[in-house]
Symmetry: C2
Subunit: 177 residues, 2 copies
DNA sequence: CGATATATGTCAACAAGGCTGACATATTTT
DNA sequence: AAAATATGTCAGCCTTGTTGACATATATCG
């Protein structure tokens, strides 16, 4: 009992490892994979003076044309003030247009323009290519496994959001146990 | 020929879909999966007034005890000024200690303390649990497929970095292509 | 030994993209 | 008419990244 322990400043020289009961391999792979995955579109975005926030907005407006501001906020899980800045820029640059909701005219339905659609595609293309290459390396028959795993990593209560994207209720049912 | 087209402000009402030749499914799954994955440790970090930057530093110092500042910068791909702020906080709070390099005394070798090790484990635990649950849902025999896919998503020139982490040159060789 | 190169630290300014709080406006609902 | 809702906007703050400039200690080169 030398009397300290929990705030002992001594350096620990042994590496944290699998022996500690933590899945370090996949934690780290996920970190590096996502970093490179998101780095793909950065160059394209920089050309328009945009960042990743613009990318996300543009992506979901293209995926769900006509969605309202409130719906977009719910998908992105950010505040309206955060959204306002990037959305304004996307509107000012002619990538997105707003139309008053047909039923409720307080709402603003968001749609991409030709330009917005073109940019969304340009941004998605290198990511899609990266995925295709990875799938090829892994074996294309493993596609469903990869999809199942990624979906299982999402919070259960948020998986509904994914299923509601267009063309989604495809291979992977939400109730296939 | 009504004469415009590329800056036509008309709203596009059709959703971007798989028909556009883009792997939207995995792009979106990756986005949602990573968002939830990184949200796990946030509560724990907030208790110490830390953010994700601290998490990353702490993780790699625990994984590679004794690494130098320059090596850490290379792993994280940030500038030394960015690192300095969070590293200083981790040192001041007794999570990390610095020792002069034994060969080159200009270097500062970074080590976790007991406290730093404990925090790193606490942060990794919920992530590991999420992975374990996802793997269970997917089928535990699919683990290798998932690892292969994630690794294939990383830029080829950066995969060496992963292989150099302790206990790594395991199941998935870097030259098994 | 002296000059130069290297590893690290630090100061200052700036930007992106989050956040909160407060308040304005239009529209719908009660 | 009053209250609730959808959106917009102003102001200020935080974290985490950036660049540029410069200081210090130590190592290496000639």
């Amino acid at each position: 009992m030398s009397g300290k322990d929990e705030h002992d400043p001594a350096p620990i020289r042994t590496a944290l490892s699998r022996a500690d009961g933590i899945d370090l391999d996949i934690i780290e792979l996920f970190f590096f994979a996502y970093r490179d995955f998101t780095s793909d579109p950065d160059q394209i975005l920089a050309a328009d003076g945009f960042g990743r926030a613009h990318h996300r907005v543009l992506h979901f407006v293209n995926r769900m044309p006509g969605l309202t501001v409130a719906e977009l906020l719910d998908v992105l899980k950010i505040t309206k003030q955060s959204l306002a800045r990037v959305l304004k820029q996307l509107i000012d640059t002619g990538h997105i247009v707003q139309l008053p909701g047909p039923r409720d005219r307080r709402q603003r339905e968001l749609y991409p323009t030709q330009r917005g659609r073109a940019l969304a595609l340009a941004l998605a293309r290198p990511q899609s290519r990266r995925i295709d290459a990875a799938l090829k390396e892994t074996g294309r028959d493993k596609r469903e496994t990869v999809e199942r795993f990624l979906k299982a990593m999402v919070n259960p209560d948020l998986r509904a959001q994914i299923d509601n994207l267009p063309g989604r209720p495809g291979i992977l049912g939400s109730d296939d146990g």
